[in-house]
């Protein structure tokens, strides 16, 4: 039986340094991550969180911090109906390839058949599509008011 994991690769015309900032700076994430701000001291073992309108949505701790190559953190969704699911793990790998950066996002340690797996499988493509648009065009994707936004 294969473990549930979600892997998504995208290629973005940017530099590893700009992409790194986009992943770790709250002002930046707020623009493409649908209003979610990230905050952390960004040291290995230190806590981090995503919040939207002062409400914490995702929290965890930093597992790897190797700018501008690899970022990894644990992932605990703070929604009450997901609290019982195990802490999962997100890893971002950034590889410069000529004028583009290959970004691979791996989300693993997920519960088999859990709701987190379903949620993140719908969420990552939206977040990463908006991130790519912001870095390449200067604008994130416009808000999605229709069923896509609800995943």
């Amino acid at each position: 039986m294969s473990k549930p994991e979600f892997i998504y690769t995208t290629y973005i015309e940017t530099t590893p340094e700009k992409l790194w900032l986009a992943l770790t700076d709250g002002d930046f994430t707020e623009r493409y991550w649908f209003g979610h701000r990230v905050a952390s001291a960004w040291e290995i073992g230190s806590p981090y969180k995503f919040s939207k309108q002062d409400e914490t949505t995702i929290a965890g701790k930093v597992l790897a911090f190797e700018p501008p190559k690899r970022l990894s953190y644990t992932w605990d969704n703070q929604k009450t109906d997901l609290k019982h699911e195990r802490s999962s793990r997100v890893t971002f790998d950034l590889e410069p390839r000529g004028k583009v950066v290959k970004l691979t996002v791996t989300h693993d340690n997920l519960d088999e058949g859990g709701k987190t797996f379903r949620d993140i499988s719908g969420g990552w493509p939206m977040v990463l599509a908006s991130l790519k648009s912001l870095l390449e065009t200067g604008q994130p994707l416009p808000p999605m008011s229709s069923p896509a936004a609800q995943g």
Partner: protein, 155 residues
Amino acid sequence: MRKPEFIYVSYIETTPERLWEALTNSAFTKRYWFDTEVRSDWKVGSPFALVMGDKTTDTGAILEADRPRRLSYTFKHQLFEEMRNEPATKVVFTIEPHGKIVKLTVTHEGFIEGSKLLGAVSKGWPAILSGLKSLLETGEVLAIPPDALGIEGFD
């Protein structure tokens, strides 16, 4: 056991018509699909081919062509021997408008267990679809070096 298949979702600021054109017009595909032309008259039952330079890399037949919502074709690799011997697979593009954005879902299925073709297309589609999104949103070609994909024989 999870089925051996590849699914990729992207969100693109464009219209369903423009996206349909981008998937079916060979002058357009050459710009983002690593110089590959898609050749077909896009009628159900008609042949389909991907041609890169003077080499036909993949062939198939059109299964569905519901412009601009859903396109599917069979897909059999022709170039590399190991993958040429695998049975035909199936590619489905689903295009859904959401306000100013289009959600594109690409599903590639029908692989045998341990398929080499599945490994290759899983590396190929993210690069092709990243290039497609960039071209539609910026008008510029995304310069992905072919060897960045990590596909043996493609560099």
